[in-house]
Symmetry: C2
Subunit: 437 residues, 2 copies
Amino acid sequence: MIRRLDINSDSYKDDLAALAASSPVAQIEIQNRVSAILEDVRTHGDTALLKYAQDFDGVKAETAAGLEVDKSLLEKALNEIDPELKAALETAAQRIRDYHQHQQEGVSRGDYEFEDQYLNRFWQKTIPMDKVGLYVPGGKAFYPSSVLMNAIPAKVAGVKEVSMAVPIGYSGSLSPVVLAAAAIAGVDRVFTMGGAQAIAAFAYGTDTVPAVDKIVGPGNTYVALAKRAVYGHVGIDMIAGPSEILVIADKALPIDSAVYDLFSQAEHDEMAQSILISTDQDYLDQVEARIYELLPEQPRQDVIKASLQNRGAFVKVNSWKEAIQLSNALAPEHLELAFADVDQYVDQVTHAGSVFVGVHTTESFGDYCSGTNHVLPTSGSARFSSPLGVHDFQKRTSFTRCSQQGANFLGPVAATMARAEHLEAHALAAESRVEKG
Amino acid sequence: MIRRLDINSDSYKDDLAALAASSPVAQIEIQNRVSAILEDVRTHGDTALLKYAQDFDGVKAETAAGLEVDKSLLEKALNEIDPELKAALETAAQRIRDYHQHQQEGVSRGDYEFEDQYLNRFWQKTIPMDKVGLYVPGGKAFYPSSVLMNAIPAKVAGVKEVSMAVPIGYSGSLSPVVLAAAAIAGVDRVFTMGGAQAIAAFAYGTDTVPAVDKIVGPGNTYVALAKRAVYGHVGIDMIAGPSEILVIADKALPIDSAVYDLFSQAEHDEMAQSILISTDQDYLDQVEARIYELLPEQPRQDVIKASLQNRGAFVKVNSWKEAIQLSNALAPEHLELAFADVDQYVDQVTHAGSVFVGVHTTESFGDYCSGTNHVLPTSGSARFSSPLGVHDFQKRTSFTRCSQQGANFLGPVAATMARAEHLEAHALAAESRVEKG
């Protein structure tokens, strides 16, 4: 069922390329429909938003103001969900808050102030955004963990108002667990809206929905294309591809743990990717054999099977060094290092979203409650992007205060460069700050 | 010539909205041509790249390998340009390097490592990207300052290989000043290529051109649309709109300095925006009068005039507090605070790209040589984005190492949340780490 790669085989390079390949499909037709929706909401505001909410999502509200969910309903949901689940969400939220608080302290340490030898002074301030919009899908699957992972870093970063958009699902109502998670995460406003129209409302604002500075959160193709289209007018997070895990393991990791870790990625969807790398051929054989034994017990066995067949792989390498090199080339979203002498190798990791070190550390902890963020760069984008964090809800501003002495020094340098670029007014502006001899 | 706004007038709100408006034009036709070029280069590599370089840019190279500029030509250019300009570029480069070194030290301070009460250990590492591509326009205008501002932060950030794409200009050859700037900035490889095909080559790689992790630098509509299209496959910087300056001043700032600062923005292009805000109506009147006197001496007076007419404005406010509030609402790319008691107000700035404090500090210093970056968020995007910096050439990775004790605690929490999300394999993966009672 699972593709096998051997680093010593002739076809290894081609096999590897096939493994990493992701083919973005052109979606011109949906793109055009998304553009029309965006323009309609931008131009007609609440009227258009309400119409789409009624037509597409089956919302019963008769005015756009009715799309906003009363805050009391969030607290109500929190008190009605299963107490064990409530406790788990609260524990997870507190740990995510603590983790991102460490990150926030790091951001504060990163700002600086210094003076050059001419007494020119420079400083950088990191300042939170005012308003952020969080999209939460409302389909069959609902993910309260996603509410925590997006909203909490925004609040820790200091964002004044976090608004959430969530369409009603097939049940005809909002998920109480999602509302409870919103209450725990400190979401400020909740709107019953979905699809491209929700993204448009956040990007441009309507009388009911505030225009935000940045939109984050996962969504279907309409949502993803709408986010891409409004990028620049507002900020967006990365557009996520299928989820991936790369497990580098030997028999230090119990066979069943290896199987469940691979399954846990594969059960997300049929294009999710689960890869196991080992120096130990026997271990690979044993894990594969156990996959066949455990698969029939899995509620999502069809998805898991399709995912492992489509994009799964077992790779035999000669050394852990080779394993890490392969991992760096793939830049996986999730990386588990679960072999005996992992400490020698962990510092060689250069491209990965979130790394789970040692046999006690399963990705599943990071998905829910260890505290690190589960919104991570997919499809190799860990080469150039980062886990979601407080950084994504703040921006830096640079401040410069020149002295007269500093202006005297900088003036001629700037003027020379400006004239080389044929920008005379730039040169004159610079020279006008220089003391007359 | 220049629009006047008064915060006390009835039409102020509408006037302000008109001022901030930027209407992105749909460019479907160019978009389709860009898509075709991207696909051609992705599929046919060097063959397509060379064809476009010959057809569009008039390159004479007969093989794709001939598109790479020999490193010796960079040093040659450096020794041939005007010595005063060479010295200015070297001074600017050293100051930009020093500034971004402070920023890099801040990034290093921002990483962290901590342990929770269950002895689970968490740490974050910030790691540079491997390869970055810098686009430099090759048209009539050439901007060596742009080479310094993009390449130096990448090198300070630790990027291994910075490649530059620059098409030959109308002269039929590359600008020696741009090549000299590349030499000073430490650019590793230079390719004679431009337009969407250059972006495609950087995004997908060809036999000659390396695939990079991120593409930065300004460009025309083809370049901007191509960058937007490859976003996600590689990282890109912000797509820049017209440049803007907002000057808040009173008579502490000499009239001529105010005029040249406004001109220096307006001379960039006809859609650039220059705004002057003051509490002092007389000052506004005097600056406007002086504009008419100084304009005829300006080499780029046609562009300046069109820009001031199109998008310039003078705004009378009642207090500096109102001025800062207006500035925060506009989130300008460049903000000059040049009034007498500026120190009381500078901390109220929340949204701006780069702030120039005090009458000795002209934006022109920041454009060239004070050391801060001149690649800044335009069109109000300072609400959610930052000046280019070392951060843009690095990414963060989170590491988690759980203890057995920690896994025992996290296992049930993760399993409860996973089952609420109907992800059974996630629950089993978590539980498989828990010690059997």
